[in-house]
Amino acid sequence: MESKHVHQQIAAMRQSFFDEEVLDEIFSQLEQLEDQNNPNFVEEVFTMYFRDSTTLLETIEQAMKTVSITLAKMDRILHQLKGSSASVGANKVLNEINKTRQVLEKGNLEGTKAGIWEMRKEYDSLKAKLEPYFQLKQANSVPKEK
């Protein structure tokens, strides 16, 4: 049945996230928090995450264009991104953030910028994958088995 197909599709999408390591077990943890009262909890979380992270990324990218960007400032933003990315299970994004911070700690501004670009790519990729997933899920919401 169609709906069954859709659900399979949704499940497959989900599995691919783990397989590709785009998401980690923290994401599963978030899923476990969902219940009758908060059936779309994960989606809500990601909505918030995407909204704030996009802003942060834009800030940092903007700053990078200016001469006055400082490593300290970038580090602050990266720290913020790290916390939220870790909390939602955004694995690849988190990895890139960590790599970038290491480079930043060594004082390498250019390297840091490059790292931020990489991170941004992962972030965009994550968003591109998850948004359709949530949409599909939302559209076909039924108690799903984990």
């Binding site: 923290i26 943890q29 978030l30 476990q32 928090l33 219940d35 908060n38 909890f41 809500e44 979380v45 918030m48 995450y49 704030d52 602050r76 720290h79 913020q80 790290k82 916390g83 939220s84 870790a86 909390s87 939602v88 299970g89």
Partner: protein, 678 residues
């Protein structure tokens, strides 16, 4: 633990715990830890929402906040409304550690820190600031499931402390007393020993560990007591001061070595913070203008806290302060990191003795003419030296200052600047209010009851940047007054802005427009910190009653009294040689210290002490009020640094003592220490 429940009494948790554990009984308790009231603070909305959900899933009763200040507000509004707090380390409006300190001091709740940062340093910082745990993000629900243990543990410890202290007071410590019968002299000693032993033996303890920051002796560290403590410490030398010797020097019946050890630990942390913080500590030229940064640094947090507290309470009577301090020391289980103790102590100085306190080194601008003693309430965090300078007080009466202060006080939210009137000698109390309060330089010398108007402002959260030095500055000025000059106010040295009322002291130091208080001389004039005592501690505002202070405006009760006290205490302790007091000598080391000891006695002798003390302090100053040299340092620096914390401590202590039913003990808004330029 079978609690008696009485113990913590009403801690339903305690009973709950008991019952919960026992499993029998229970109607409600049975559910523990369900219903644990958690306050979670994180500026990241994503993390916040996740945590909230996780905590709800643990059956906890969750309140979330995305700003530290809001969190503090909620905590203050409903002091007993939460069982535990979880807070992020990096937040834009206030550093998580500062929040931690505030909470520890004011509400004494267990606080768990969390961060994506797992570096050893930051985790260590959590430890030193008294966090009961540190979680690394991403936080797992499993980690949250067990947070109730911190609540239980803390209560258990408190209970034990109560028990322990209670027995001290009663002179009958069950467990302890018996132990070593060596001391026959006083029950205390016996207790001391036994408690020590008990301490060693007890392991349940996390609080018994004598280095533990969790320990909370329930001794009330009154102003006088703290003064004695500081005096003893200074006498021994901070490095050599060991609890046993301090105890002996203090010779206070009923005090245990354990109490002293715990207090010392806090004091040390406070000192460390002070010294770490400001780069220029005694810069004679530090004018108030420079405030803050320096000393406020570390102090800021503490001070801020302190000041706020103090101010919040309005004028804290010296005793209150002392009490607070003691309480703080005692209570801050985790707070050991908070140097508050010192602060409180300062506050404890009562203004009654119009001793001038030297703001450590801050130049106190003492207007000799005025009788007012400007006690700078070192509201560390709040008062910035700049502010102090701006406080300049032109009018003679403290009252004026008060007004001004008060008005400024308005700035800060709860903190009201309360002018503390110093008792006799001090004529001027510099009131530091965050920034705009003009400081009236009290007349340093004071024999005539100087009213030290201390207007403390409760640390206005953001505004007060003044380095809580308000008090400090005050002290400095105060210190400058050589105690021995009865007539001549040492104040001379202070270039306090004193109005004509002052007798000839003249502000020698030229009155710097900027700073109100310059501590010029080493007049160790201790303002009567006792003034604080007079102030009634009102539940949200500490009102300083004037002990002689002109200040009557207690609009804001938040007085820095606490701060002052501290300073005073500090001053007192120091006892300077009278020789030192001399005018222009700016270096008022820790004025406050000196004052402190002298504090109680208004006699000239005190001044001497103060001076001496000041000098001494300078030397080793750790705690000193930041600017050692009075010179034209920022009075604020002087005081703030010192005062703030001490005063706060004192205030806190007092509060804890239950001096005032203040609901918020420190009624200050979480001021952001960040404001203090460090």
């Amino acid at each position: 633990m079978k609690n008696s429940s009485g113990g913590k009494g009403s801690m339903s948790t305690a009973s709950s715990i008991t019952t919960w554990k026992a499993g029998d009984v229970v109607p409600v308790p049975d559910q523990f830890p369900a219903g644990l009231r958690v306050l979670v603070v994180d500026d990241d909305p994503t993390c916040l929402i996740i945590l909230e959900k996780m905590l709800r899933n643990c059956s906890y009763d969750v309140t979330k906040c995305n700003r530290a200040e809001t969190a503090l507000l909620k905590l203050r509004e409903n002091r007993n409304g939460f069982d535990i707090v979880i807070s992020d380390v990096h937040m834009p409006d206030m550093d998580g550690f500062k929040l931690l300190e505030h909470i520890g001091l004011e509400m004494d709740l267990p606080v768990i820190m969390m961060s994506a940062d797992d570096g050893k340093d930051v985790v260590m910082k959590g430890v030193t600031h008294g966090a009961c745990d540190y979680l690394i993000k991403p936080v797992r629900i499993e980690a949250l499931k067990n947070i109730w243990q911190h609540v239980v543990r803390k209560r258990k410890n408190e209970w034990k402390d109560l028990e322990q202290s209670g027995s001290v007071e009663e002179g009958d410590r069950q467990p302890k007393q018996s132990e070593d019968a060596d001391y026959s002299s006083s029950v205390n000693e016996g207790n001391w020993k036994s408690s020590k032993k008990r301490k060693d033996d007890e392991d349940e303890t996390d609080d018994r560990d004598d280095t533990s920051t969790l320990k909370k002796p329930r001794v009330v560290w009154s102003v006088e007591l703290h003064q004695q403590f500081v005096a003893a410490v200074n006498q021994l030398g901070i490095d050599k001061a060991v609890p046993k010797k301090i105890l002996e020097l203090m010779n206070v019946p009923g005090l245990t070595r354990e109490n002293v050890a715990s207090h010392l630990q806090k004091y040390r942390l406070y000192l460390r913070r002070l010294s770490g913080v400001s780069p220029h500590s005694c810069n004679p030229n530090n004018s108030f203008m420079n405030p803050q940064d320096e000393t406020f640094g570390p102090l800021s947090s503490v001070h801020g806290l302190d000041l706020q507290t103090l101010t919040a309470t309005g004028q804290l009577p010296a005793q209150c302060l002392a009490t607070l301090q003691a309480a703080m020391l005692g209570r801050s289980t985790a707070k050991s990191s908070v140097p508050m103790p010192l602060v409180n102590q300062r506050n404890i100085f009562s203004f009654e003795n119009p001793k001038l306190r030297f703001g450590e080194g801050q130049q106190q601008h003492v207007n000799n003419n005025n009788k007012q003693v400007n006690l700078l309430h070192g509201i560390p965090t709040t008062m910035e030296s700049k502010q102090l300078t701006s406080l300049r007080h032109t009018s003679q009466t403290i009252g004026n200052v008060n007004m001004q202060v008060a008005s400024h006080g308005a700035q800060s939210s709860q903190n009201n600047s309360s002018l503390i009137e110093m008792g006799q000698p001090l004529s001027r109390v510099q009131i530091l209010n965050d920034s705009t309060v003009p400081l009236s330089v009290g007349q340093p010398i004071v024999p005539n009851g100087i009213a030290a108007n201390v207007s403390t402002r409760n640390g206005v959260p953001e505004n007060i940047r003044a380095p809580g030095y308000n008090l400090v500055s005050q002290t400095s000025s105060i210190l400058n007054f050589p105690m021995n000059h009865a007539s001549e106010l040492p104040v001379d040295t202070f270039s306090l802005r004193s109005t004509p009322g002052m007798s000839d002291h003249t502000s020698k130091g030229a009155f710097h427009e900027d700073f109100n208080s310059e501590i010029k001389g080493s007049a160790g004039f201790l303002p009567s910190y006792e003034v604080f005592n007079d102030y009634q501690y009102k539940s949200q505002n500490w009102e300083l009653q004037n002990a002689g202070m002109i200040l009557d405006d207690s609009q804001h009760s938040n007085s820095l009294q606490g701060n002052l006290d501290l300073t005073q205490s500090v001053l007192v302790q120091q006892g300077f040689p009278s020789g030192q007091i001399n005018g222009q000598n700016r270096s008022v080391p820790i004025v406050s210290k000196a004052m402190f000891s002298a504090g109680d006695s208004t006699e000239p002798g005190n001044l001497l002490n103060v001076n001496h003390h000041l000098n001494t302090i300078r030397a080793d100053n750790t705690v000193r009020v930041k600017s050692e040299t009075v010179a034209d340092g920022n009075p604020s620096n002087l005081f703030v640094d010192h005062f703030g914390q001490e005063d706060l401590m004192i205030a806190l202590l007092k509060q804890q003592q239950g001096i005032a039913p203040a609901e918020n003990e420190f009624d200050f808004d979480g001021y952001s220490l960040d404001n203090i330029p460090v």
